[in-house]
């Protein structure tokens, strides 16, 4: 997957590119409006990560340009403005998703993969990980071909962990992924724990391996190298 990060904050772009490079994405970065237009005119990208507030132009103009010239390119808006208008406006103009700053890089990764799956319908909606297959369209999960009965939240959690495999996922990032901003209480961490426990049990009962590794502190990791 080839990405263009349009972000005027070099350090933030640096975080994003180094995190996503580990996923095997090809990441390019540009810091402003004009540079972005040049790059977009010259190369093909799968997804553009777009900051709306740029020093030399409005990010929404880049979005308009993309939708006109390269409608196949996915767009994920990153914005600190957090203004609802911007969000609605951006999505109306055809952005695939909107992620307010600050965000977890794992959340960004999950969103990017979701956009990628939606945009490249050529093949399958399946996310396959060893014996686990997740159909993102029907939201069905099978382990060794046997269907797994998961709740909505367990399903979302499993998908989140699988797309972020081998990464440390803090309880906070999982809670925010599942419940968004308004679940800010410590209780949600217990809740994450409950869901993880149930999910683990269900996968193991269905004959899958226990990939979910508890990290000391308050995190989890979906570890493919589990014995």
């Amino acid at each position: 997957m080839k990405l263009l990060v349009v972000e005027d904050q070099a350090e933030l772009a640096n975080n994003i590119t180094s995190y996503l490079s580990k996923e095997g994405y090809v990441c390019e970065w540009c810091s402003g409006y004009h540079q972005a237009i040049e790059k977009l005119a010259g190369f093909d990208y799968d997804i553009v990560l777009l900051d709306l507030m740029l020093p030399d132009g409005d990010g929404l103009d880049i979005l308009r340009f993309l939708k006109k010239e390269y409608p196949d390119t996915g767009v994920l808006i990153l914005s600190a403005k957090n203004a609802l208008d911007d969000k609605i406006h951006g999505l109306d103009l055809g952005a695939d998703d909107y992620l307010p700053k600050p965000f977890h890089l794992s959340e960004l990764n999950a969103r990017l993969k979701a956009i990628y799956r939606r945009r490249h319908l050529g093949g399958t909606h399946d996310v396959v990980f060893n014996e686990i297959t997740i159909n993102t369209e029907t939201m069905e999960v099978t382990v060794n071909g046997k269907p797994l009965d998961l709740t909505r939240k367990e399903y979302e959690m499993l998908l989140y962990m699988v797309v972020n495999k081998s990464r440390v996922l803090t309880k906070q990032s999982i809670a925010e992924h599942l419940w968004g901003d308004y679940m800010d209480s410590v209780d949600s961490f217990d809740f994450v724990y409950q869901h993880i426990k149930n999910l683990r049990k269900k996968i193991v009962q269905a004959g899958g391996r226990d990939y979910i590794q508890t990290m000391y502190g308050s995190g989890y990791k979906f570890n493919p190298q589990v014995s």
Partner: protein, 417 residues
């Protein structure tokens, strides 16, 4: 009282003083003229009396109405003319009337005569009455004319002033249009308009920069937080981290998250204060409340909180829909957060009011400051202490009433639409 009436009354008061003084002067002047004329008249009559004495060769006393001549015998000195007041029987009125009297001893021919002449005085109080009456009538006329004309004139003179007042009254920061005044030909009004214009321009630019500051502060804060959070996440990925190091990183991340939420909440509060949420529409509160309660179901289940609802169907309220969602979310969140394990939440909504009750420890702090910023009762780590301040602010801009009470071991927040 209208300014014009005040000015007119003051003017009339001054005029009254002037009229009083003027009346006294007029009275005196008239009196002087009258006395002078009367004496001249008596002197003229004296001349004709002397002519009469010469003509008639008078040798007996002569007495008629208003004249008495007595021939004197022997050697007597001539005297100068003297005037005096006296009271004489008036022939036609048949009563005593004050008269002017001229006395003189004059030599006519070769005899001396004592001549006394009388003339009816024009009485002083008659003159006073005349002066008073005419001045009073003039004063009344003046009052009426000044009041009426003043009122009519004020409509024209004060027109630019009233126009300015109207413009100030209609001035709104949100509309963001400049107040432009018409030039009047009154210097004071032009000055006033200039001041108001400068003031409103200043207010507008200050408001604008405040708004921009809020936006920018939020933006500028979120970006470094985002960077830091990302760095910590990358750090978490590195190998060979000890458990202590992992928990340090995670706790740092939590603080960053909190800071970010704080910034967002403060900027929301400022935005509500700045009245940036003004798309008032009909919001179906029943639907909204049920939807949000469903969203929170997991959380209440987790804490084993029993939720009882009594929601009237199709309660519609006119307010901004975003604010409605924020208000309900914060209230439910608050009821869950400050609840006990196995507690209870009871929500009642009618088209008049929304009541949310929840079990929980009684407040240790003053309930009056409950809705103020950062007045947290328990310094619980996950709460930033702005939730209810935001709810209060939303109620203010939507003209709702909000109140809190603690009864039967339940916290009870009531919003009256």
């Amino acid at each position: 009282m209208k300014l014009i009436f005040k000015i007119t009354l003051l003017y009339l008061l001054i005029t009254l003083v002037v009229f009083l003084l003027g009346g006294m002067i007029t009275h005196q002047v008239i009196m002087r003229e009258v006395v002078f004329e009367e004496q001249r008249f008596l002197t003229e009559r004296l001349t004709s009396a002397i002519r009469m004495i010469e003509h008639r060769k008078l040798d007996r006393p002569f007495e008629r109405d208003k004249i008495r001549i007595i021939p004197l015998d022997g050697q007597v000195e001539e005297t100068p003319i003297t005037f005096s007041d006296t009271v004489v029987m008036h022939a036609t009125l048949q009563r005593m009337e004050p008269h002017n009297k001229l006395d003189v001893i004059k030599k006519v021919g070769d005899r001396y005569y004592s001549i006394s002449l009388y003339d009816l005085i024009i009485e002083e109080d008659d003159i006073s009455d005349g002066v008073n009456e005419s001045l009073l009538k003039m004063y009344l006329l003046l009052s009426v004319v000044v009041l009426v004309l003043g009122w009519i004139a004020s409509l024209f003179i004060l027109k630019p002033f009233n126009a300015t007042l109207e413009q100030i009254r209609n001035f709104s920061l949100k509309k963001n249009d400049r107040i432009v005044y018409q030039k009047s030909n009154t210097r004071e009004f032009d000055k006033l308009n200039k001041f108001v214009e400068e003031m409103t321009d200043k207010v507008r630019s200050d408001y604008q920069s405040l708004k921009e500051f809020t936006e920018n502060a939020s933006h500028e804060m979120q970006t470094p937080l985002s960077i830091t959070n990302g760095k910590l996440e990358l750090l978490l990925e590195s190998d060979n981290l000890s458990n202590e190091q992992v928990s340090l990183i995670i706790s740092a991340q939590e603080s960053i998250q909190r800071l970010s939420k704080l910034g967002k909440a403060l900027s929301l509060l400022t935005k509500i204060e700045n009245k940036e949420f003004e798309s008032v529409e009909k919001v179906d509160m029943s639907e909204l409340l049920s939807k949000l309660l469903a969203d929170f179901k997991e959380l209440t289940d987790l804490k084993s909180i029993k939720v009882e609802t009594e929601i009237q169907d199709q309660v519609c309220v006119r307010m901004d829909s975003t604010l409605a969602a924020i208000m309900i979310t914060n209230l439910i969140q608050n009821a869950i957060r400050h609840n006990n394990e196995q507690g209870m939440i009871s929500i009642t909504m009618t088209d008049k009011k929304l009541t949310i009750r929840n079990t929980g420890e009684a407040l240790k702090s003053d309930p009056k400051v409950l809705f103020e910023r950062f007045k947290k009762d328990n310094q619980s780590k996950e709460s930033i202490g702005l939730g209810l301040a935001i709810v209060k602010k939303i109620c203010e801009v939507s003209s709702f009433n909000i109140s809190y009470e603690y009864q039967k071991k339940m916290h009870c927040i009531t919003v009256i639409f």
